[in-house]
């Protein structure tokens, strides 16, 4: 390798300064070697580590070289011109306030601020700290806005800030990093740009003109028009010509393929690379090796959550640990709650519904000594259990029936299959480790493309991967499918996996190394690389492409037999529906504006068919006129209009019932590895145009011993091509020594049982999260959970059969004084019903709940006031809330009011608010009133049976006895207990007074009474 062209300008401080761009081009051809080395050295403190093991079969062709080459030392090549030592010294403010963490030996964030080359090199992300423009100087930015020093350290004073500012201004010329710019020395310097700007037409999905820019070889072999790159001569390279003449990317395809033109800097970079001889370079993906990552120390691993859980020696049950802490604080467990309370508590906790009166009687009268355990077992065996606990998991996954992101909020027609999968998994107590593996890597368990007939379980494994596709996804939009939007979808999935499954907040590391937790930026991108095989921003699956048609043979047969005639019928109904809708418009216009011309009426119909912002002014006026008419009360009440509306709603019911009788299609929403991931790069500040170091797949170093490379392989060596990265990740995640997987999950379960976690920040076990209140209990539960075969039902049993769980929720003055926040679990917390439990139980007690499970979600309707209601089934009942359609923009109002979360992208923990709209809804809403009426009717029905039995109830009985009986039954149904004598008396008095107010209409009086009980705290809160 000739050296004559290399000008290396080195100051005594070890500062590299390169000649100007024009000069560089002249000498470019011979540059590659030395620059490769320099870059490697600049980019990574340990170039050997940067060249660590990488799976050769999956990283694509020539990008990974077979032989590990040791780079020559930077001093060995090039002419060195000594320049005067830039006369600067590091300001004392930096030495004092920053040097503690950013010095030669600690190098937090791979940054050494005590030496000028450290300042020039910048931190881990490879971003220079200084800039000609003070405002652009990263160093100044973090200081000016108090991002640094971190809150735990002493702030810079105003004077010190001034000192640093002056210093930057004085020295930026000498230290101007622009002069430090290095020439592209490897394919990885230009590949990010090529992928970003060219891969849509010349990548995985299309190879227009026969050109594929994904690998060095394919770039160099060119396309149908010849070579794309003339080595050493950018001006005559077709690639550059096409780009500079704006033939590429072609104007008409910019929006279609979501690409933007390369920036001037990017074109320069491409030219420089070509002029430099189009070097392939020696870079290898940065992955974990047997050598420790300098950014994650053994000391960092000392944080409690990063240590593998250990069996504690101090106890063998939940109560042992809780009691130990209580005793230390002069407290003891509260006595067990009474039987009624325990029954209600366990029912709501496990199935989210109150007991029926019969069930309540069965358990309260049971003489079995282990009645409580029997009840827990029965509840765990109920299919209602999966509907309750599956819902918590759906919160974590961010389940929704729509994509979100854009106003149209397109529906996800088959997302419900994932919902049903989750419910099934909980009901059959699928071990948690398998549950995770299926959701993260179900596609790498079975080679579905190669197996002609899949079993139901194998289909489930693929449906399970829908887990990673639940977040908000706007990339189906006509204009929102650019790389940054794709990266956001990926980042949401990473957030769910890292915070939800590992209790580790990694989001910050997307832009910079984590400030508080030992998570370097490369760990974020290594994790991103795990998902690259399926989530590739340069090979993005459209909504259509991410569906699979997969099912068992029985499903196939059933579809062929059942669906075709139904589809035909549906089409006919749809056509009729459209006709009636037009008829409605015409009828409204006729009634409101009898003088309107036929032409204008037809014009209105035509205008409605045009997008609102594409209408001409006359068209807008016509539509506005229609809207005004629709708001007129006399129009809303006109008989003709009402009758058309009735017809329309009947037709809608028909369409819906046809939908329901069809066998669900074989379509599933899934995520699968495509086998050819593009390389993953660290993005400086998280920006998609700022690719820096190439990384390979890996897991957060702090959760490992720091000495184990991440190993993965194609699970189907003789079948489909898969990277196997996610499967390897899922197995790592569920290995029994994993520090956080089991802990995170048992903590979530504890949180749902007790209203708060042992670690109160359920999604963050890092150093900024809360410490566990009972660390030994947490470890014991985690280990017991794993030794019970990751059985979630066993975990419930362990927790719920403890005396800690069975405690009364009463707060005595002593408890108030010694344990005001209940941090020692000196009692059971009192809790409000959550949104679903509230709605489901109102439906249940009023006899309007249909327990049919699964299948397509129940549609919602949006009323004129914007209120959203779930449509009732033809039998005038509703199914459980988990089966309602969750369109992100149309959350049912009742659930929304009671804190059903916005899934953005998911919800780790719901808030519980107490606000007046809740009171207004329960008091004034028509539907709640109707359900109260049903409740009253149910009780009426049941008591009347008793009344008409002359043996028990002579016809002469006084009215008050009737009231007594009804009040009693109401309490049994609504509160799962008997009324106290006081409540009974108040009820009687009130019913008498209400009857008078209702002019003697006892039925109405009783409806009002039932409505009040639904509003009462006794119903809304669980003791």
């Amino acid at each position: 390798m000739p050296d004559e062209g290399i000008y290396r300008v080195t100051s005594r401080l070890g500062l590299f300064i390169w000649p100007s761009l024009q000069m560089r081009r002249r000498f470019a051809v011979h540059f590659s070697w030395a620059i490769a080395l320099t870059t490697a050295l600049v980019a990574h403190p340990n170039p050997l580590q940067a060249m660590a093991d990488e799976d050769k079969t999956t990283e694509g062709g020539t990008l990974s070289t077979e032989v590990e080459r040791v780079p020559r030392r930077s001093g060995e090549t090039g002419t060195t011109i000594e320049i005067e030592d830039a006369a600067f010294s590091i300001p004392t403010a930096i030495q004092n306030k920053c040097g503690g963490c950013h010095n030669e030996s600690t190098q937090k964030g791979e940054l050494n601020l005590l030496q000028s080359d450290g300042i020039l090199r910048g931190g881990e992300s490879g971003e220079p700290l200084l800039h000609e423009d003070l405002e652009q100087s990263r160093l100044w930015q973090v200081i000016q806005h108090d991002e640094m020093p971190p809150p735990s350290e002493i702030d810079l004073t105003g004077l010190e800030k001034e000192q640093i500012k002056t210093w930057i201004l004085q020295n930026h010329k000498t230290l101007n990093p622009a002069t430090k710019a290095t020439l592209p020395s490897s394919i990885h310097d230009v590949l990010p740009t090529l992928l970003l700007r060219c891969a849509s037409c010349h990548g995985a999905q299309r190879q227009d003109g026969g050109l594929d820019i994904r690998t060095y070889d394919s770039i160099m072999s060119g396309g149908d028009s010849g070579l794309a790159v003339q080595v050493g001569d950018s001006a005559s390279s077709l690639m550059i010509q096409r780009i500079e003449q704006e033939q590429c990317p072609p104007r008409e395809l910019l929006l279609k393929f979501f690409v933007r033109r390369p920036s001037e800097t990017e074109v320069h970079l491409l030219r420089d690379w070509i002029d430099a001889g189009a070097p392939i370079g020696e870079v290898r993906a940065d992955v974990a090796t047997r050598e420790a990552d300098p950014l994650v120390t053994q000391e960092d691993r000392q944080h409690w959550a990063f240590q593998t859980p250990q069996w504690p020696i101090t106890g063998q049950s939940v109560d042992d640990f809780v009691q130990a802490t209580l005793q230390k604080n002069q407290l003891e467990l509260s006595p067990n709650a009474d039987r009624d309370t325990l029954i209600r508590r366990a029912f709501f906790d496990l199935i989210g519904l109150p007991p029926s009166v019969d069930q309540w009687k069965q358990w309260r009268e049971s003489t079995a000594p282990n009645w409580y355990e029997l009840m827990i077992d029965e509840l765990l065996a109920s299919p209602r259990y999966g509907e309750r606990w599956g819902r918590y998991w759906l919160d974590l996954a961010g389940y929704a029936d729509s994509e979100g992101g854009i106003s149209a909020d397109p529906l996800r027609p088959v997302a419900w299959k994932y919902r049903d999968y989750v419910i099934r998994a909980f009901n059959r107590d699928l071990p948690y480790d398998e549950f995770l593996i299926e959701q993260i890597a179900g596609d790498e368990l079975t080679d579905h493309a190669m197996i002609p007939e899949l079993t139901a379980d194998q289909v489930d494994q693929l449906i399970a991967t829908g887990f990673l596709r639940m977040g908000i996804d706007e990339t189906g939009s006509r204009t929102m499918n650019f790389v940054p939007e794709r990266l956001k979808v990926i980042s949401d999935a990473i957030t769910i996996v890292s915070s939800g499954l590992m209790g580790l907040t990694m989001e910050c590391a997307r832009c910079h190394s984590h400030k508080y937790d030992p998570i370097p930026q490369r760990d974020y991108y290594r994790l991103k690389a795990i998902f690259q095989g399926a989530f590739d921003e340069h090979n993005w699956k459209s909504f259509k492409q991410r569906k699979l048609s997969i099912g068992t043979n029985e499903q196939r047969v059933a579809i062929q037999e059942t669906n075709p005639p139904l589809q035909k019928r549906k089409k006919a109904v749809q056509a009729e529906h459209k006709r009636m809708q037009d008829a409605l418009v015409v009828a409204i216009l006729r009634a409101a504006f009898p003088d309107q011309s036929e032409k204008d009426r037809n014009g209105t119909l035509a205008a409605l068919g045009i997008a609102d912002n594409q209408r001409t002014l006359p068209q807008r006026m016509l539509v506005e006129k229609l809207q005004t008419a629709q708001n007129l009360p006399e129009i809303q009440e006109a008989t003709e209009i009402l009758s058309i509306q009735k017809k329309i709603s009947r037709l809608e019911d028909q369409m819906e019932s046809i939908d329901r009788s069809m066998v669900p299609s074989l379509t599933i929403r899934a995520l699968w590895d495509a086998g050819h991931p593009s390389p993953t790069y660290i993005l400086r500040r998280g920006e998609h145009t700022q690719a820096s170091r190439w990384v390979g797949p890996g897991v957060p170093s702090v959760l490992t011993d720091g000495k184990t490379p991440f190993y993965f392989e194609n699970p189907f060596p003789n079948g489909s091509k898969k990277t196997g990265r996610r499967l390897a990740f899922a197995k790592w995640l569920t290995n029994k020594n994993h520090p956080t997987t089991a802990r995170t999950f048992v903590n979530r379960v504890w949180n749902h049982h007790f209203g708060k976690g042992l670690v109160s920040t359920v999604e963050n076990f890092g150093t900024m999260g809360s410490k566990p209140t009972h660390p030994e209990l947490l470890d014991w539960l985690a280990l017991k959970f794993m030794s019970d075969g990751w059985s979630i039902k066993a975990l419930h049993r362990t927790i719920m059969t403890s005396n800690t769980y069975k405690q009364s929720s009463e707060v005595s003055p002593l408890l108030k004084r010694l344990d005001p926040e209940n941090q020692y679990y000196s009692r059971m917390p009192m809790r409000r019903l959550d949104a679903e439990a509230l709605r489901d139980s109102i439906l249940f007690i009023s006899g309007r709940l249909d327990l049919k499970a699964g299948g397509i979600p129940d549609p919602v309707s949006v009323g004129p006031e914007g209120e959203v209601n779930v449509k009732p089934l033809p039998n005038q009942k509703w199914r459980r809330s988990i089966y309602a359609q969750y369109r992100r923009t149309e959350i049912p109002t009742l659930l929304d009011t009671f804190d059903y979360p916005q899934m953005g992208p998911n919800c780790f923990e719901r808030t519980v608010s107490t606000v007046s709209p809740q009171a207004l809804l329960l008091l004034n809403n028509q539907q709640i009133r109707e359900l109260s009426k049903s409740l009253a009717a149910e009780i009426e029905k049941e008591t009347t049976i008793a009344v008409t039995d002359p043996a028990t109830h002579p016809a002469t009985q006084e009215l008050t006895d009737d009231w007594n009986e009804k009040i009693e039954l109401t309490y049994q149904k609504v509160m799962s207990r008997l009324p106290t004598p006081n409540e009974q008396e108040i009820g009687r008095e009130s019913l008498t007074a209400l009857s008078k107010q209702w002019n003697g209409d006892e039925q109405k009086a009783f409806e009002t009474y039932c409505h009040v009980l639904i509003n009462s705290a006794s119903f809304l809160y669980i003791d």
């Binding site: 008409e252 854009i406 989001e507 899934m903 709209p917």
Partner: protein
């Protein structure tokens, strides 16, 4: 970090589960200039070059092709881009300030000297959905808290009987993006905007939706109260139960307070006329403007007025569609300013006028005609009035086509930071802990407060 100030909820939320989020008044970070906000939101994108920011060069080039790269324009396919399109209305300067107003805004023009025109707004996305999310929540995506939510989170409310953040939507329908324009996002739901419905009962479920005599209702209330008291007495030291009883009490107080606040018949005929309330077009918007004044007067912190869908979005027939939008809003807006000024409320009320982006200097094809303009995210005009802004001033400049900002650009984050500043809030300090991240309205990269806008 080291600055010392006393503020409760807005700053101290280290994921404390016991943290109480409520609407009680909170201390500001510094002395405020404004106490309340009325935001007149012009959904769809008013045309800056036609209405406020005249461009003689553009007018001269009317009908000629765009001289630069057409890819820099708009968000539609380049094949739909027409030719340069000059200003559509006669336009002249008004008042001492010399602000420009097209003749379709005669009433607003008469208030010129009270307005602070910002000609250099720009945003990040040329689509309505995203630009709306951006202008309201500082982010391009749904699910983030809006400016109004942040404001009431930071400041609480001065009126315990009314919601702190009220949205007045158009009787004709919701704006584009619907209720997401006033979402609390990840902030507790107590901070979300409450939409006062334009007709009937102003808040959903505020009045009974079923038949029941007043007597029976009172009887029911007594019963509920008795039962809840028994329940509470058996469960001492449970603060949630007190909060619950309070929420029921507020609900009934709200029924009275809201009905009173919304009763426009309590205003004189003269006031009605000032707002354009009457048989003519401005009636609907005028009612909402007058309501806004009544609400602000009663201590409501943030009032937001919307139009249905996006009446300013003029891809077709720009000259007539923008005129129609002006006719709906011009007189009411001027009436509101005049009324606030008369009562002195303008000093403490910040009035914001503007949309989510501007419009292109070129015409746009629709079918076979070229009569409208496409979206322009690179420059648009908004104005502010009252609440401590520099009346009669102008800020920022656009190029000869009104296409790009060339001087003093104001990003949406800058705009938000400035508004927060006027309210006594510091954009960096107003934060909320979520999933280990410190979330702010103005994002990670710090914005700048535009002090030149502040009196």
């Amino acid at each position: 970090m080291s600055e010392d100030f006393a503020l409760s909820a807005a700053n101290d939320n280290e994921n404390d589960p016991a943290q109480i989020y409520d609407l009680s008044p909170k201390a500001t970070h510094h002395a405020p200039k404004a106490k309340n906000i009325i935001q007149l939101f012009m959904n769809g994108g008013p045309s800056q070059v036609d209405l406020f920011d005249p461009k003689p060069v553009l007018n001269r080039m009317d009908g000629k092709p765009y001289p630069g790269n057409v890819e820099e324009i708009g968000n539609q396919s380049t094949s739909d881009i027409g030719v340069m399109m000059g200003g559509q209305y006669p336009i002249k300067q008004h008042g001492q300030s010399g602000h420009w107003f097209a003749d379709v805004l005669p009433h607003t023009a008469s208030m010129a000297d009270d307005l602070c025109m910002v000609h250099s707004m720009w945003t990040d996305h040329p689509n309505h959905d995203n630009a709306l999310y951006k202008i309201h929540s500082g982010r391009l995506f749904m699910g983030y808290p809006t400016l109004g939510s942040w404001v009431v989170y930071g400041l609480g409310s001065e009126n315990a009987n009314l919601p702190a953040y009220v949205v007045l939507s158009d009787p004709l329908g919701l704006p584009k993006n619907g209720t997401r324009n006033w979402t609390a996002g990840f902030l507790p739901p107590v901070y979300q905007g409450t939409r006062f419905r334009p007709q009937g009962s102003p808040i959903l479920n505020l009045s009974r939706q079923y038949e029941q005599s007043q007597g029976a209702t009172e009887e029911a209330e007594t019963l509920l109260n008795q039962l809840d008291m028994i329940h509470k007495e058996n469960r001492p030291f449970q603060p949630e139960l007190d909060a619950r009883i309070q929420s029921y009490e507020l609900a009934s107080r709200m029924q009275l307070a809201a009905s009173e606040a919304l009763d426009l018949d309590r205003e004189s005929l003269k006031t009605h006329e000032m707002y354009g309330i009457g048989p003519a077009v401005p009636d609907s918007f005028g009612r909402r403007c007058l309501l806004a004044r009544r609400l602000v007067e009663r201590g409501v912190r943030y009032v937001q007025i919307f139009l249905e869908e996006q009446p300013w979005d003029s891809h077709v027939d720009l000259a007539s569609t923008q005129r129609a939008a002006c006719q709906r809003t011009d007189l009411p807006v001027a009436g509101l300013l005049r009324d606030l000024k008369r009562s002195g409320l303008l000093d403490s009320t910040l009035v914001l006028w503007g949309g989510e982006f501007g419009r292109t200097p070129t015409s746009q094809r629709s079918g076979s005609i070229y009569t409208g303009r496409d979206h322009n995210m690179q420059a648009f005009t908004s104005w502010m009035a009252g609440g401590g802004v520099k009346a009669g001033s102008r800020y920022g400049k656009t190029d000869d086509f009104g296409h790009h900002v060339v001087e003093n650009p104001v990003s949406v984050h800058d705009y938000h930071a400035t508004i927060l500043h006027l309210l006594g809030l510091h954009h960096q300090k107003l934060s909320f802990q979520r999933s280990g991240l410190e979330e702010r309205l103005t994002g990670v990269t710090p914005p700048k407060v535009i002090h030149d806008l502040i009196a």
